[in-house]
Each structure stands twice: as C-alpha cells, then as structure tokens.
Symmetry: C2
Subunit: 517 residues, 2 copies
Amino acid sequence: MSLEHPAAAVHARTTTGPAAPEGTGPADPAEAAVAEAAVVEATEAKTAVVEAAVVEAAVVEAAVVEAAVVEAFAVALPVGRWSTDPAVVDAHRLDRSGWIPTGRPLGVAFAREVADVQAVLRVAAARRVPVTVRGAGTGLAGGAAAGGGIVLDVAGMDRIRELSVEDGVAVVEPGVITADLDAAARAVGLSYPPDPASAAISTIGGNIATNAGGLHCAKYGVTRESVLGLDVVLADGEVLRTGRRSVKGVAGYDLTSLFVGSEGTLGVVVAATVRLRPLARDPVTLAGFFDTVGAAVDAVTALGAAGVVPAVAELLDARTVRAVDAATGSHLAAHGEVFLLVQTDGPGAAAEADLAEAVLTARARRVRRSTDPAQAEALFAARRAALPALQRLGRVLIEDIAVPRGALARAAARVTEIGAAHGVDIFTMAHAADGNLHPIIVVDPTEPEIPPRAWAAAEEIFALALDLGGTVTGEHGVGVLKRRWLAAELGPRAHDLQHRLRAVFDPAGILNPGRAL
Amino acid sequence: MSLEHPAAAVHARTTTGPAAPEGTGPADPAEAAVAEAAVVEATEAKTAVVEAAVVEAAVVEAAVVEAAVVEAFAVALPVGRWSTDPAVVDAHRLDRSGWIPTGRPLGVAFAREVADVQAVLRVAAARRVPVTVRGAGTGLAGGAAAGGGIVLDVAGMDRIRELSVEDGVAVVEPGVITADLDAAARAVGLSYPPDPASAAISTIGGNIATNAGGLHCAKYGVTRESVLGLDVVLADGEVLRTGRRSVKGVAGYDLTSLFVGSEGTLGVVVAATVRLRPLARDPVTLAGFFDTVGAAVDAVTALGAAGVVPAVAELLDARTVRAVDAATGSHLAAHGEVFLLVQTDGPGAAAEADLAEAVLTARARRVRRSTDPAQAEALFAARRAALPALQRLGRVLIEDIAVPRGALARAAARVTEIGAAHGVDIFTMAHAADGNLHPIIVVDPTEPEIPPRAWAAAEEIFALALDLGGTVTGEHGVGVLKRRWLAAELGPRAHDLQHRLRAVFDPAGILNPGRAL
C-alpha cells in the first residue's frame, strides 16, 4: 500500500502536470478551464469514494489479520492460557516505570510450561508478531511495557523444581518470587543472596532479565554471579541450554552471562540453575551518622582498607534523612545529616563489626551498633522508610546510576547541585559500597505531566554518570526509558556490535523490540 | 588450482575416452594402437614437464606471497617488534599443553602498545593471515600453540597503568604477570584474588583468555568475577571498549563476560580494568586427613551448611598423598589417606576456623590447625608438592573437569576405576569447594608417544564429567585438545550459535582459528 494520498496525487497531476498536446483539446481557454474543472471535480469525488473503500478494506483486512493472529495463539495454547479480554490485557501490559506506550497488545499468553512458551514463539515467529515477556511487571525502565504485539506472561511458571544442598544449587522456573526462593533455601540452611528492593514481589526471571542488584551485592554480587545455567526458548521456539550445574566451567563462550541482563531480547528464560550460598547467620548492624556524604563515603572506602567486606552499606543523603524524619517522626537528622547503614554477616560478623565500628567512629558524628534483631530492625526501617517518605511528597522518578566508588561523593554532590539548578527536588540514596546511586526526583503530583525541568535534571544526571566513568543504569536496566543514552555510554562500535549479536538470536526482531538496545 | 592430477586426467581420457569417429583414423588397428601409444607417451612427457613447472611456479608464488606478508608485518611495526628468526619463532610458538601443531608460523610480532596490535590485525585482516595471540604461553590446552600464520605476543605490554585505592580497581595491560598485580595491590592494602597455579608466570591477558580459576575461587570467584571492563582490538584493528569502571552496570549486553574465556577468538585484549578486593589478613590454615574422598567431600559440604566460606579447600586423593610422601619424605598418609587443605581468611578467619575445625574433626581421622605462617606454609607445601611429585613419576597429562559439588566424590572414585580399567596411573587433586577435579594421568616418559590407553582413559573422564552434569574444562580452556568434546557438552544448537557469534566479531576467521570452538 502506497503512503501517498490518492486525492492529492490526482490534484497535483491536474494542476501541475504537463500541458495537453496541441490540437487535441477544445480551442477556447475558458471553455477548456470549465471542462477541466468538471473533470477534476468528478475525479475528486470518485477518488474520495475509492479512498474510503481502500481505507475500509485496509481496516477490514487488518481486522481479519488480527483475528487470524489471535486465533493462532488461541489454538496454539491450552485452554485458559490465552486472553484478549481488555481488562486482562490492561492488567498485564504495563510495568512500574510509569511509561505508557501507545497502542494495545492483541492479547496475553499465560505460560505454565516450557511447551507454552515454545508454542507462543513459534506462532509469533511465523507471523512476525512482537512479543513482550513479563514476570511480575515490577521493572522500572519500561522493559515489560507493551504497546502492540502480544504479552507473554511467565509468572505462572513458578515452581522451584529442585533444591540441592549437596550441589549447592536450585533449579527454578522464571516466575518464582525472589524472596520465596531465598526462603526455601533458608529452610535447608542455605540462601539466595541477590535481593533487589522488589524481592518480595519480583520474579527470578525478571531479576535475570535486568541482572538485578540489591542491598547485598557488595558482598554477594549481582544476579549474574548467582546464575550457573539457563534453559532458554529462542525466537524460533527451540530450547537452548546454557551453562551447567557445576560452579566452574569454561567450555565455549559464556552465553549465560550474555542472557543475564538482556531484558528479554535474546530469548525467553524458562528455567534457571542458580547457585545457593552458605546462610550467613548472626548479622551485626551498625548505623553511622555523618556530617557530609563525603565523610560517609570515606568511611566505606576505609572499611575496604581495613579488610571489611560489608554485607550491606546503604547511604541516605541529608535531604532524604530529613524526609524520613518528617514521615516517621524519627530524629535521625539530630544525630547527623547523612545516614550510613552497615551490616556484617557470617561467622566473622562480630570481628568485622569491631573493625567497622572503629572505622565509622573515626569519621562519624555518632555510631550505633546492634546485634539485637529488634534494634537492628529499627535501623533497617529507616532505610526502608526512605522511598515511602519521598512518595508522600509527590510523584517519584527513581533514577539509577553507578559510578566508580571513589566518585560517589562527587556524584552525590553534583546531583544536589543539578536539582538546585533546575528547581527540582532530588533526594539521593545509594548502595555505597558499589557506587550505585538512586537519585529520586520528586515532582508535584498535581501536574498532569512530568515537567520538562525534571527530565532536564535527569538528563544531566545521566551525563554526569558517564562523565565520571560510570553508567546510566546500575541495576534497573535500559528498557525504553534509557535507550537514547545507551549509544552514548557504549560508543557506536559496541552499540552496533550488540545489535548484530541480537540479530543472531532473533533475526526477525520479535523479542521485546524497541527495548534494551 | 584444481585438485585433479593433470597427468592422471590425460591418461584417463586416452584410455577410457570415446572411440575416434569412424573413417577419420588409420585403417589398421595395430598401426592405430602404435600411433596412439606414441601420442600418449608424448603427451605424458609433456604433462610431466608442465606439472613440474606448475609445482615450481606454485612454490615460487607461495614464497613471493610469504615474503610479501612478512614484509607487510615488518613494515607495519616499529623496529625490533617483528621477527622471523627461526629460533625466535620456535621459542614463541608452543604453550605448555605439549601439543605441537604441524607447520610453522611465519614470524612473531612483539606488541608493546595498542597501536602495534592494531597494526598487526590490520595487516592480518587484509591478507587473511591467521593470528595466534600469546601471553606467557603457560596454557594447558593448546590455545596458544601456533602452526601457520603469525604469532602476536603481547607479553611486552606489561604495565600496571593505574592502581586506585579509592575506586578499588586497577587498569592493567595484558602482559602483566598475575602475581605481580596481586603484589602491587597488596602494597596498597588491597588484593587481586584470582590465583591460578601458574600465577607467578602467567599473564592477566592469558587468565582472561581462559577465565582462569585457582585456589581462591571458592570464595573470590574466577577471573570473570574480577574483570569490570576491557579494551579490545577487534579483528579489523578497531578498538572496542566493554564494561566500565564502576562495580555495577547493566547498560547493554555483557560483552566483558563474553570476552572473558573466549581464548583470543573474539579480539585481542589490550587493557583490563579489574576489581581489587580488601586484603584478607591473618589467614588460618587447617589440614584434615580422611579415610576416603567421600568423607573429605562430606566435610566440604558441611562447611557450607555451617556457614563457612573457605578461601581455600584443596583435596589430594590417596594415590597423590602417597606420591607426595615418596617425593618429599613426608608422612601424610600415616595420618589418613586423603588430604584436605582448608584456609579461612579475613576478620572472621578465626571464628570460621573454629567452625571448620569442628566440622573436620567430626569427619576426619586427624585435623591440624595453624595460624603460624611457617606451620601454615608447611601444610600448603604438601599441596604444592603434588604436581612436582607426579612429574617425578613420568610424563603428566593434566586433566581439568568440573562437576556439581555433590558429585565430586563419585567423580573421583570413577576416575580411579577408569585408570584401573585402562591400566593407566591416574592421580586426582581437586579444588573441592568448586567441584573442579584435576585427574593427572602419568605415563612412562620413555614411550615416544602418549599411549592410546592414556587417551582412552582421558576420553572416559570427559564422558564422566558430562554424565554428572559437569564440564570437560573447569578452568584451563578448550584450546585445541578439547575441541572434539565441545559439541557434546554444548549441544548442536548452542555450538552453532557460538560459531555465529564468533563470526560477528571475526568474519574472516583470522583470530586463533581452530581453537576454542
């Protein structure tokens, strides 16, 4: 179908076309003009009719194609695993990014087994239908927000297939809730340490898609460090196995690491073999109250120099501390403007806490230490209260940059300056040992749109991260929202290479198109 | 050039070709036969001359091409960085695998800076010359053993460009000796934990190429876990940057992990940003003497259940213990047949050692504990004496399989049975916490070749690793020696995908062809 408007084309021809050959038309110019006008009018009327018919035919054809596509998915899946109900579609088309794509998906496939995922991808590949894969939809970057195509929901693949104490591994389906896996591991004396803030509601599949981080990454690594192998359904419906069940292995390229963090663009994870770790008992919790972010960051660096590997090192800047005080009635700011929560764990927790206490005491205005679970919980509560405290103040935009650890204080200071320069409220919390900052931009909730000055501040924050040798996303992923920054971070050569790798896995581009790269 | 032999073709035509058309040849059959014989003889003589000339021309042409190629490399590189001296080439064409490829490289390029690597790859790409990249040549799988093409030696790129305590990173060139990096990090109160047995002589570049493991992997991870970013010269001479200087980051696919372990087939690493860790002081060393491998492995599993993460957990089987005793005059076997060396480190080392001692004592015939460096050194000496003790007994084939940890005892028992069945001496040592076994096959050094029964035993060991859900190489790499096992381990789909990924990076196939995949 041509993109040119048929009536416009006719009109153009009649007004600017070549003159009629001599001796073939009426002699009188006025008469000729009248005749021509009649022809034009008749042509235009006819064109309008044709045009309406063409549009109608296109609509009918699209509806027929759509119906055939919908039918194909319905037939390919067992009863009850496919829905086009608008309410169901609406409930499964967005994530927590706040991004609402234009268009609506045709339907949602609810996979409960590997064969369902294969069936969906075979139909999608044959008909070139975009597929947006989702777990719990807790992502913050728009990676699971679907406009057209269909949604493939794998939340129903939620079995822990195996927990092996001997091998120190679990085999899980993608829809398992992260905290549920950890709880199951703890029940047998082990743990699954990766713990994004969403662990109680997000899925392992989603954690793998974004290479999720969390509070315990400093000591236990991000999701990638806990994934040993994957079963993946590729874009053509075939199953690929990557990695292995052993902790070590170097046969072939590390496809497992390539899939982790690929945001559903290389294949659909249908099972993961993850590494479990010894359960770290008897944690000791410390809170340091500092005058400046710089002093708190110095303390984190000094922990490393003292040989301490903290399990948790969470920082709240002065603005955030005051917001927590205002929301909860606490008096944290009275002890010091900047709050640093440190936890040590494992058999050496007490010895590490002794060292940590000395390090903090030398740099903080005040230090509190707790081995009592209730006291420790009260300290953790301050950290957990931060985001809700900000959400009381307005609509929040959660940013996620990471910088080299030594640049953390500079980054936090610049973020505050950027907020002031744009007249935007920005609050910063950070996984301090990893150099991963979450500047939270809070905007007036009565404004219908995010104001341009908030976006301008966000853009400056991303530029800052790159300036400092860091990244525009430490643990939330690129999704849709950070795509335009990706090329700047990767450089054109790496960006192009990544697109070419993607095409090896998904030549037709049906998996989460427009996301991740 | 046709593969058909010209003389043979002529002969075939004269003896089996269609008969001459009637009425065009001599009437007498005998006369005709004589005439034909003369023609054949003349043709054959002429053909032999032509053939000799063709062969000679090909030789001359090859020599001319070779000279032009050699000249191109010589011109592209600064003076003193290219050699065709046979002694120099011989000194740089093999690794420690014992594998000697047929053919000889044309020359060796000695890169000292990034521009040298770019120059070499540009010439190689233009002329389709295979390039074998080497660091120290300590590899055990033939990955740096070169037949034809040229050798690119990056050992001279050996600067530690930067050590940042604040950021906890180092930026190093590929030729830096691994132990030198760790020593430099220790000088500023940090450490670089990956420590293959070859750490004192192998390079960071080689460690990255094979994703080298080592004694401390159980706690600190393999090389991949310490590499944050890479500068890589691609096959066309362009520089690619992967990763970043921050600990965390999820923008784009993880190309860094794809390069680590790719054995020089995707590009040439010219710089690496590696993560440094807090220096673990005051290690405590324990040795357990067990009756069986099974009891020792049970102890390792129980360490995890007790919350202990040992920095070292090295196992020597009974045959190896006896070999060490025979070589060093020690009496380890008197304490127990199987030796398990455990080390805890960090501020919690003593607390962890207390737990570990209890775990070992419940399962071992005898346990020794040492915090005194000299005593600890004596215990480590037994582990380090193992390979030299076996090398006294004959020529060693060092194998390298990894299995799920719970299968370690079964694997070790089966390895012993395989040795007995084939009449081959096999000794096993293992990184026990990782399930990584090194079965060492010792053969009579007076035999000119490795006997077939030794290869047969090795094959059975590889099959065993796959049977148990493990891998044919835990940390040494595929190189040349394990290529034929790779497809079995990966499966055809993954194997094919890996080849297609390789082609994205190196479409002409000039980088370490015939290696890794």
